[in-house]
Amino acid sequence: MSRALVPNETLANALGANELARELGARGYQVVRSGGFGLAWLEPMLVIDGQAYGPVRDLDALEEVALGPVNEIPAIARQRRIIFDRCGRGNPMDYDPAWLLDQLRRSPREIIAEIRASGLRGRGGAGFPAHIKWQTVHDTPAPQKYIVVNADEGDSGTFADRLIMEGDPFRLIEGMLLAGHAVGADKGIVYLRSEYPLAARIFDQAIARARELGLLENFALELFIGAGAYICGEETSLLESLEGRRGEVRSKPPVPAVAGLFGQPTLVHNVISLCSVPGILRMGGAAYAEIGVGPSTGSMTFQLAGNIQRGGLYELPFGLSMRELVEDWGGGTRSGRPFGAVQLGGPLGAYLFEDALDTPLTYEATAKLGAGIGHGGLVVFDDTMDRVRQAHFAFAFCAHESCGKCTPCRIGAVRGKETMEALAAGEYTEDKIAVIAELCDVMEEASLCQMGGMTPIPVRSALGIAPGISE
């Protein structure tokens, strides 16, 4: 009997994967609901006895969309899939815990040493060295410590957390259990955004399966669903939300690694940071550090989105240029019009233009541009993008999502939005630009968190304003 892998993944399902699975079942195939490979333009993509087909609209016309052996599709074979190696290859619930149980016998000191050697930095946006957080939580004495996973993936242009939680939830469970063992935390909570209902269902199944496998005897694992607030992706806002309150950010210090959830030492990590941990332990921290460029070590889950031909998730070593990603991997704009801009790293990321495309994707090189890699998302626009409108949106989004705790963000965003509206209405004067520049400087300097502090980045880059000119 032929075996058909049909992704059970939100995008593939939106494009008809559920119906295809039913139809294949009726035709006598052995249907396995797998994860998605993340190649959005090929969804729904089926793998039948190792041969891939996509995008499949009609099962009677499979040969028209034949892609050859799945392992030879260049867009998969040329990746460096360390986190996503299992994703798409079978039923995610078929999990063999032998390797994990073996790793959990290593000493915490040894595991933290591997993380330090790997040079792993947080993949959620800040890029903070992971081992420092691990060591801090480990070294802070407390009656209770927590692992908190930030799966509040609200940045437009990103979907890596969703893909791994739908396609290989055990990768995240591995990361959480290993981190818990290393830092001495026996409770873990995943904070997942409510916009991802399928990821929630699949992760719940995985928790139940992990319990059956005996993996949760010494570790309490819980899934918490958010309620629609972008700001809850900020770690202290997320902790407030987990404590059942409005997600208003806390001032730091103390950092969550010292006093986090319910005042206890808490290791807060993005999904992809924790999902990088099993690969590091498998190959060894030193070997992992050789992947990538300089201090940007390892693989990054780049996500190509917006106006792009071949969008999707590409796990690659740091260091390729934005041009390679947008042109070679992505095939240019979907509209067929000339490239306009890319917004790198989510709504708080910079708009970058043609002249920046040869910049290598590393933490260091993008920082030199006043930009950041963020969670690895690149949103591509064609040449119809209106810079004034995008700068207006950056303020409007901040005004909509601001938690309201600090004045620069709460009021600055609204004033910025109003001023941009006046600009867009044709009052494009030096006075107005000066107001925007000053607002940006104040928000950057004085906001409590990155929501207000980084909103100036898309505004200034879209309008071509240099930082600090208001002084």
Partner: protein
């Protein structure tokens, strides 16, 4: 009221869970469609919070609504990746066809329109949701049919 005791049971079942008040309000939304003053009172009572605290939570999170939504609830992504492929135009067309702005509900409660910031289908936009159904490459027809 009979309905009140059912809600009280639902809310009480959350006691002791992480982030319980938020979870309780999410469950009320799921079963009741919106959050009333009576519900706020029940949540305040069960968790020993003030009504103001609970109203504060309700107003903070965009999933919580104090007014009923339409039987057909249309949400269109307004974030950058969807802007790059025309969500603004799509929103204008749907809005004009329905006679509703973002955040509005028709008087007969048949349909409501709302913006949403990212559904995670950013390489296949514009994306939208109609009730529980998620739509990639959304068109005017997909949303209005």
């Amino acid at each position: 009221m009979e309905n009140d005791s059912a809600i009280r049971e639902l809310v009480s079942a959350c006691v002791g869970q992480t982030g319980a008040p938020v979870t309780a309000l999410r469950k009320i939304m799921a079963t009741h469609g919106h959050i009333t003053d009576e519900h706020v009172g029940i949540v305040a009572d069960v968790f020993n919070l003030s009504r103001a605290d609970v109203r504060g939570i309700v107003s903070f999170y965009s999933d919580f609504s104090t007014t009923p939504r339409g039987r057909k609830h249309i949400r269109i992504c307004q974030a950058e990746a969807c802007q790059a492929v025309g969500c603004r135009g799509l929103t204008r067309e749907v809005s004009a066809a329905l006679g509703l702005g973002l955040g509005e509900t028709s008087e007969d409660l048949a349909v409501s329109l709302e913006g949403v910031y990212c559904l995670g289908l950013c390489a296949s936009g514009p994306s939208a949701m109609v009730n529980e159904r998620i739509i990639a490459h959304a068109t005017r027809e997909d949303l209005l049919q």
